[in-house]
Symmetry: C2
Amino acid sequence: MSVTTRRWRLRGRPSELIRTDDFYLDEVTLPTLGAGEVLTRPLFLSIDPYLAKFMREWQGPQAEWSEGIIVGRTVSRVIESNSERFQAGDLVLCNAHWQDVDVRPEAELNRIRASAMPASAYLGILGSSGLTAWVGVTQVLNAQAGQTLTVSAAAGTVGSIVGQIAKQLGCKVIGIAGGAGKCAYVVEECGFDACIDYKSADFEQRLAAAVPNGVDLHFENVGARMLDAAIAVANPHATIALCGLIAHYQDDRPIALARFRDLLYKSITIKPFHFVHFESTFGLARKQLSSWLADGQLTFRETIIEGLEHAPEAYVGMLKGDGVGKHLVKVGD
Amino acid sequence: MSVTTRRWRLRGRPSELIRTDDFYLDEVTLPTLGAGEVLTRPLFLSIDPYLAKFMREWQGPQAEWSEGIIVGRTVSRVIESNSERFQAGDLVLCNAHWQDVDVRPEAELNRIRASAMPASAYLGILGSSGLTAWVGVTQVLNAQAGQTLTVSAAAGTVGSIVGQIAKQLGCKVIGIAGGAGKCAYVVEECGFDACIDYKSADFEQRLAAAVPNGVDLHFENVGARMLDAAIAVANPHATIALCGLIAHYQDDRPIALARFRDLLYKSITIKPFHFVHFESTFGLARKQLSSWLADGQLTFRETIIEGLEHAPEAYVGMLKGDGVGKHLVKVGD
């Protein structure tokens, strides 16, 4: 019996900004399951900024990118198994194509054990977003009680957790986000001390007013404009954790910082990082995140678009800054 | 008896590039010595890149900058003393105006004890240049045997010492400098493994060819073009010590890095530093530098212009990249 599925791929290299018509839906027949392979159905596709680089370059960690085929993180359910380690019904974390169903080798699957948390949380607060935030705040920035921390994209899945973790650790936390709605979410639901709207005309002045004692730690998700604003209010010997550059994934232009010299004048260290390099800390991270979640001390939101057919809109919307929290496409159940 | 002296000051705010006619020589009558003050005569003025920022902004650590009066590091001799701590004939390190003689408070003077080294060395290899290089290589980069280190402005006073210290520690060291003469100095006299001429058309390819195993540590003195070249050949988790931005002191334009995204993709940390913040290590630094000097394992050169009247030419020449090693103006004996 052959299985066919819809599959999203790229029409060509996206021009400057990724648009929905850069994607098209084709149909493919899947190979029969080989030894150790399983048939999976995504419950959720993870709509992540980092994919934009691979989309533009047709090049990524998986070979299929060279054909314009998208491979992203998913929470999937095993439908059929030719592996001794998995059986139908298992929930797994895995990279997969943006398809209705996919064939994956067992080595790529990570089982999700039964838990009180919804499956989608394993792509967000208990997955890469939560680990990224935890690693950034505790390992990269080494945040201490009494310090002031700023974070950009504060209403996003990583930024919103960064601020909440820093609050747990006793920091003063100021978010930066776009629009009154996002700022209200960040302060009222996530409990930040303040959130500054970068779309306001007097953004830099308002940021400065919110941090009368300057900033010790900054967590950057966006790009040059936010970095310049953060450098302006940074104290001498401040540290910047560089986690993402979402404003710069859709072009190759040089990144210009008006305040780059101030890195030198104020001895401000920039520490770019990727959470996967801190694997030895994941056990502690998951324990602490789960404990805070259980105690109601961490909150998170999801922006969920229903239906595989809407994945490009979900992706473009995420890049444009629509919605808050973790962006997901719901495919199956 | 009143003492008059020539004094260099700025005519106005220098436009884009600092030129010799931005300076003029006036004459001032010095106040009589107050309690604890001494009359000093500079033997050498230290011709340092960092002064360019103060010259452009008419603002610096000393109040006189607001009047366009230059204050720089000097090795000076005490001519007359109204201090119990100093007497005529003493050699001292002090900040002073670019004058034939100056009046300084005793608190600003650091005595130079008799030594086998020439007095000028206390502005270079045994002064801020040597301490900067030592702190950068050992404390900021934490260089280890077997690592590959690149350094820009490799024929300069700091860069040439950086590479020699890294060689002592067992690193492979590649310099970057402008022109065949400087590159020859860096390799033949300073003992670097190679030196790449950034003025050559195929600079980046030649740099890449010189570091087949990539670069672990980079020491930056210059600016965006060198940083981009270094980031291109940097290994994942490389560290960049940011010591100076000489290419960017003469304008306020944003600094654009074509490869800024690669800091993130390769987790390359940027550590800007100023040697004065590592004072607790100076004792060890001076001991090690002196020992290497005594053993003939460190070499240095000076570019000396004679006569206070030529200070502006010396300054502009240094900014343009004339000469190698430590730039000095010889004023007195």
